[in-house]
């Protein structure tokens, strides 16, 4: 395998971006990510994005967003209707071909224009589950109930995840929900979608993220401290929600194994897990075999603090890489998810340049 590294990362997140459209807030993030590399989008060997037109409610919104990249003269470009982390996977595969050295990956999305809980229902099978219009929070609550009933976690564990996330988010300028919260006080809050409380749900966030990848020596030329992708893999669980045990995430476990997470002796220093709902962090921690006394979980605050849909997974890779580049650890695992109840999962193992 060819060594590929994250050489630059930038993001934007806001609660409700009412004045600018997606193109207008994506463009500065593209420029911010490119600036330290000294490259332009025209220099990139490959460009790929992740987004969903259902968020904006406009067909071919992903084509419009290309305006923000400056695609003339024509560039080699692709798109996935998934979180940007899966676009990054495509870029990584493309870089394995060996004929190009750089790739630009971006993700954007506004969750605020529509009813995001209903929009996400369109991910369900359109014949049997979709017509029932179960919103995202209700489906997550079903999963949380299965987890609690399994005896592997309690409501106190959910409150602990939320309190830690918001405390960690204090250091994250892009986080929307942050602060010191008392776990017992969180449990006094009313139930929203039993057994979940409002704080177990992610905030509604508009945002964009951009990562520049480079291969081999080119990565060292372009930045001080490349963060190498040691392994990356994504897997999927069955589509019918009733066909799987929602309290576990076998696709995450398998993706982690294929990405070589087990090859990092003694465990990774930090983990950025894409868990939009508090109980999902517990499922993912178990699925990846992480030890919280060894590995810092979601030092950015995670998706509970800021959750731009279609972007938050790419942000996990970016946040983990940025921390390693800053010397805040040597190894990390980043995870991204898509679909209802952690249906699709991507795992990326990162290591700072020695």
């Amino acid at each position: 395998m060819r060594d590929v590294a994250v050489v630059s990362y930038a993001q934007f997140a806001a609660r409700n971006e009412q004045s600018r459209n997606e193109i207008e807030f994506l463009l500065p993030v593209v420029k911010e990510a490119l600036a330290p590399t000294g490259l332009t989008s025209q220099d990139m060997g490959f460009t790929v994005s992740g987004s969903s037109d259902y968020l904006a409610g406009q067909s071919f919104a992903f084509v419009s967003a290309l305006d923000a990249v400056g695609p003339w003269p024509p560039i080699a470009e692709s798109h996935v209707e998934m979180d940007g982390a899966f676009a990054l996977y495509e870029a990584w595969v493309r870089l394995q071909h060996g004929d190009i050295d750089t790739a630009l990956v971006y993700a954007f999305g506004k969750s605020s224009p529509g009813d995001i809980g209903r929009v996400l229902s369109l991910q369900l099978d359109p014949y049997l589950a979709g017509p029932l219009w179960p919103d995202a929070a209700s489906l997550a609550a079903l999963q949380a109930r299965v987890l609690l009933d399994s005896g592997k976690a309690s409501e106190k564990d959910l409150a602990r995840v939320v309190a830690r996330s918001r405390r960690s988010a204090l250091g994250n300028p892009h986080a929307q929900l942050k602060g010191e919260y008392d776990e017992a006080a969180l449990l006094d809050e009313p139930l929203y979608a039993d057994p979940l409380r409002k704080h177990d749900l992610p905030p509604i966030t508009d945002g964009a993220a951009v990562i520049v990848l480079a291969a081999g020596d080119r990565a060292r030329d372009l930045c001080e401290k490349p963060v190498w992708i040691r392994g990356i893999d994504h897997r999927i669980d069955g589509q019918a929600l009733g066909s799987r045990d929602l309290s576990v995430s076998p696709s995450t476990t398998l993706a982690g194994r294929k990405a070589g997470l087990g090859d990092i002796g003694g465990g990774v220093d930090l983990a950025e897990l894409h868990a939009p709902f508090s109980h999902q962090e517990l499922i993912l921690t178990e699925a990846l075999g992480l030890d919280e006394t060894r590995t810092r979980i979601n030092p950015s605050g995670g998706a509970l603090a800021s959750n731009p849909v279609m972007v938050a997974g790419l942000v996990r890779i970016g946040e983990a890489a940025a921390r390693l580049a800053a010397g805040d650890g040597q190894t990390a695992v980043a995870h991204a998810t898509g679909g209802p109840c952690l249906q699709q999962n991507l795992v990326c193992v990162l290591e700072a340049d020695k």
Partner: protein, 168 residues
Amino acid sequence: MSTEPVTAVPVSEIVTPIRLDYRYTPGEASSRFLRGMKEGRILGRRCPSCLKVILPPRGCCSMCGELLGEEVEVKDSGTLVTFAVVNVNFANRTIDLPYVTGEVLFDGADMTTMVLLSGVPLDEVRMGMRVKAVWLPEEQWDYTLANIDHVEPIDEPDADYESFKELL
């Protein structure tokens, strides 16, 4: 519950209604454009890199990837760059057939805009024809390009092909 076997006749069709409501954000540049339309003005924006006047502006130049610069008011007369005679209506369109949809380069803009063309026999429609906007009555103006009901020919010599061939 019935113990009768389920009929073997296949289900050939089901109806699953979908409705999603959105609060659309046009963005800063398009908002300026739409406010201009409300006043009967066509407002483009110039790309600071290639200097082209983009119309309607969506925020950045679709070729250069640069945020748009100065606002430029464009005239409501222009050149028919290309056109199509439409003989088959599509959903929700109530215009009498056949009709002509054209790409018009409004004077002062560097991008064409799609509008309807009327007031000319079909066999006389041609590329390079000079046209002018016919606006709806002012009291009907809203934040929309639809304030221009259609364009119609004006008595000017056709534009030279060389002057618009780059847009084809």
